[in-house]
Amino acid sequence: MGEREDDDELVARVAQGDADAFEVLADRHADRVFALSRRILGNDADAEDAAQEVFVRLWTRADRYRPGRARFTTWLYRVTTNTCLNMRRGTVEAPMPDSPPEQAAPDGDPETAAEAALQRERLTKAIDGLPANQRTAVSLSLQREFSNREAAAAMTISVKALEALLVRARRSLRAALAGARDGG
């Protein structure tokens, strides 16, 4: 709740041209915007370009954010989603990367950390292996910031179509993760 107030205050300052406030917001939200972009676009290079575009929009269009209507993060992730989908519509889908994205160093004992890293790698591979529409649908759905209705609106499809994508995506993820575990 405190963070929300801080974000709203910072956005108001950004709308007035405050570069320091912009830098604080960019530092705070760069990881999540990059992570969501990477999930939707499937590779680091495009995700970086998308994240930059999102923050350019924040810098030049901060006055369009209405604090009472939605949380700042919801607004920011909606901008991120639209930016990624526009980029994807304009480009042929890039091949999947060979390596998972850079991760923060986990705490705890090395064995648990290694198992967690393996799980992350399996999940990353499974998500990256989904068709683009399913990957976007499941990324938005699992983002927790979006209801199905909002995710469908962001993808400009019906809620029914989104739910059909989610069913296929989650089935594929379950199968991929079960296969990876059984295969060692």
């Binding site: 960019a26 999540r32 992570a35 992350r120 999940l123 699992l142 983002q143 199905n148």
Partner: protein, 139 residues
């Protein structure tokens, strides 16, 4: 609710009961009480959601991206005005107010032209008759 319906619910709405709706929550609660398989599927869906959440929160933006973001204010000129016409009031409100005022003024002018009261109607024959009789009275 059957296991298949429950799985479809998990796949379309996710494992958070807040997204299910009241009626489905009640039916799901009954199924979960009697079915170990339903509980296993819920746990699997939660693990997937948690794994994704962890993936999201642990993914770090590369240092080169952070540098690009910090450079944005210097490299991208702003396209919106920084100052409002009236301090504290957004510029578009001021513009909207001015447009509304002008519209009211023009509407008032138009209505005034149509409804302007130009006095009672005068019968020309009566005027002529009155003039003639008046002149006859003088003679």
């Amino acid at each position: 609710m059957t296991l298949q319906e429950f799985q479809t619910l998990l796949d379309t709405r996710g494992p958070d009961p807040a997204a299910w709706g009241v009626a489905q929550r009640l039916r799901t609660r009954r199924l979960l009480r009697r079915s170990a398989e339903a509980r296993r599927r819920l746990a699997a869906a939660r693990a997937l959601a948690h794994g994704f959440e962890t993936l999201q929160t642990e993914t770090v933006a590369p240092a080169r991206l952070r540098a690009r973001l910090r450079a944005i204010p210097a490299t991208h000129p702003r396209t919106v005005p920084d100052t409002a016409a009236i301090p504290g009031l957004p510029a578009r409100w001021w513009t909207a107010g001015a447009a509304l005022g002008l519209s009211c003024f023009l509407a008032g002018m138009a209505m005034g032209a149509v409804w302007l009261d130009d006095g009672p109607e005068v019968d020309l024959a009566t005027v002529v008759y009155a003039q003639v009789t008046s002149e006859e009275d003088w003679q």
